[in-house]
């Protein structure tokens, strides 16, 4: 059985935002409203004795126990057998409960106005209905044997994608070694995006 997961290596992320650009073009996200399926946070941490810039890429964590899926009243948010959490826009009424439930701030509204604007911005738009959008791990690319657009474009190889059920996958090795850890594991969401922290 396939169990997709992603490891993000914060020691090699340079904050170039190429992942954001690749994702927005691949998935036609409403960037004009500052809504992204993946976003790289640029933070300064520390004090005058040692200030550091920290880049933290954020995306849907495709949790094994996704709170966004259990709160969704219409079943629009669902999980594929490979563990990818997807949204079916035609079923989504856009109540926003998923955005409230997500501890990773991964859901955003794609409104009717965004669809109209998207047609002008991207030319031909994949979506027709407004919905609470999110990262799909580029499921359409996975089905064709490819990788998510953000992984393919990452210049620092900070994003590593693979199948946790494959023992020889680099993702499996990083997760099993304990080098890569999930965010906010105490919430019981069982995320499938892991982070290698900075030293």
């Amino acid at each position: 059985m396939t169990h997709y997961a992603m490891v993000i290596d914060l020691t090699t992320c340079v904050g170039c935002n190429a992942c954001m650009a690749a994702c927005s073009l691949e998935n036609q996200t409403p960037v004009w409203a500052d809504h992204w399926r993946t976003y790289v946070h640029d933070r300064e941490v520390g004090d005058t004795t040692g200030v550091q810039r920290r880049f933290i890429p954020r995306l849907c964590n495709h949790c094994d126990n996704p709170p966004c899926m259990s709160v969704c009243p219409s079943g629009a948010t669902h999980k594929t057998p490979e563990g990818v959490v997807l949204v079916e826009p035609s079923l989504c009424m856009g109540c926003g409960a998923c955005a409230m439930a997500c501890p990773y701030d991964a859901r955003y509204p794609a409104t009717a106005k965004d669809i109209q604007k998207g047609k002008e911005y991207y030319g031909r738009l994949h979506r027709n209905s407004p919905s609470m959008d999110k990262c799909s791990f580029c499921y359409h690319r996975l089905q064709k044997g490819g990788e998510p657009a953000c992984v393919q474009t990452c210049v620092g190889y900070a994003r590593i994608f693979g199948d946790l059920d494959q023992p020889d996958s680099p993702v499996t090795a990083l997760v099993r070694s304990g080098k890569a850890r999930p965010l906010m594991a105490h919430l019981g969401t069982r995320p499938n995006v892991y982070y290698i922290p900075e030293k």
Binding site: I56, P73, M93
Partner: protein
């Protein structure tokens, strides 16, 4: 990774507090007036006022949610009973069913009395509808299954009030919401506001048509509910003070806000509690003190939900 950002949300704001407030109160008004009619008093006026005002509250409350949906047409997936079978783990799916069925039940329960009420029969639009033969047939059928309808209304009414709290409890990232006390607090508050609303109706609109013992009983029950609400609120304060930074920041936000302290705690709970105490022990008579106390309770019910929505704190490691 350590948490770097603590923030509130902008998805569900004051409009959602209106939905929680009117939905919970409307459902509790229907359930309370049904219980009163079935077991305490045969008065038709109170159950009619309760059913009609409860339905109006739930329509307005649900309307607030409906107006904020991105794709309102998809709401049909959850208002059909299939929705609950399809998504039994979603409290919104259950809540939608409760709200739909309590409104249908409330109208059916009150219909046999509405078709007999001369004043309603003279109203424009409503009057001609109530005189339709099919409506009279439905009213006769509803009268035969009154007991069943009453219990459906009571169960779905309590279900709706509990659901308003369970909904917030489903969000694990926010300590203020994700704990077992929220559904209890919201249910107690829903029934307290329902008592207050029905007291206003009984004192202002149908004073001479309702037995005073019902009013006295409601005042005593409301007193108990306000006391319970105060205990839950202060146990909340104690709970959020330690254990998680998200909870601590919510407590810090609420208890340093004059709106919460003066608007809700003082004038939404303590002042009406003291006023109702004076009324119950007979040192205050007349309509004004109890109606004023009830209006303050209604204001408190809304403030509780508005502050709760505003004070939910999310913690992010970025």
């Amino acid at each position: 990774m350590e948490i770097l950002t603590y923030t509130t949300q902008q998805h569900w704001t004051t409009w959602f507090a209106v939905y929680l407030f009117l939905g919970g109160m409307g459902a509790a008004v229907v359930a309370t007036s049904f219980l009163t009619h079935m077991y305490l008093s045969e008065e038709k006026e109170l159950v009619m006022w309760g059913a009609i005002s409860g339905v109006i509250m739930m329509v307005v409350g649900s309307g607030m949610l409906f107006l904020h949906l991105l794709n309102p047409w998809a709401v049909f997936y959850i208002v059909s009973p299939y929705g609950v079978f399809h998504k039994p783990d979603s409290w919104i799916a259950w809540g939608s069913q409760f709200i739909v069925w309590i409104q249908i039940t409330a109208i059916l329960y009150a219909l046999p009395y509405m078709v007999e009420k001369p004043r309603l029969l003279n109203w424009p639009i409503v009057g001609p509808i109530l005189k339709l033969p099919i409506v009279i047939q439905i009213a006769n059928f509803a009268k035969r299954i009154h007991g069943f309808l009453g219990w459906v209304g009571i169960i779905t009414g309590i279900g709706t009030a509990v659901y308003t709290g369970l909904l917030l409890q489903s969000f694990p990232a926010v300590t203020l919401w994700h704990n077992p006390a929220v559904p209890i607090l919201f249910t107690v508050s829903a029934f307290s506001t329902a008592m207050a609303w029905l007291l206003i109706i009984m004192y202002i609109f149908i004073y001479h048509r309702v037995d005073h013992t019902i009013r006295a009983l409601y005042e005593r029950i409301d007193l108990g509910l306000i006391t319970a609400e105060l205990i839950i609120i202060f146990s909340f304060f104690n709970f959020t003070l330690s254990g998680s930074e998200s909870g601590y920041r919510s407590a810090d936000m609420l208890w340093n806000d004059n709106g919460w302290l003066i608007g809700f705690i003082l004038f939404g709970l303590i002042v009406p509690l003291l006023m109702e105490l004076k009324c119950v022990f007979g040192t205050w008579s007349g309509k004004v003190p109890i109606v004023t106390a009830s209006l303050l309770v209604l204001n408190g019910g809304f403030q509780l939900r508005a502050f709760f929505m505003a004070a939910g704190i999310y913690a992010y490691p970025w």
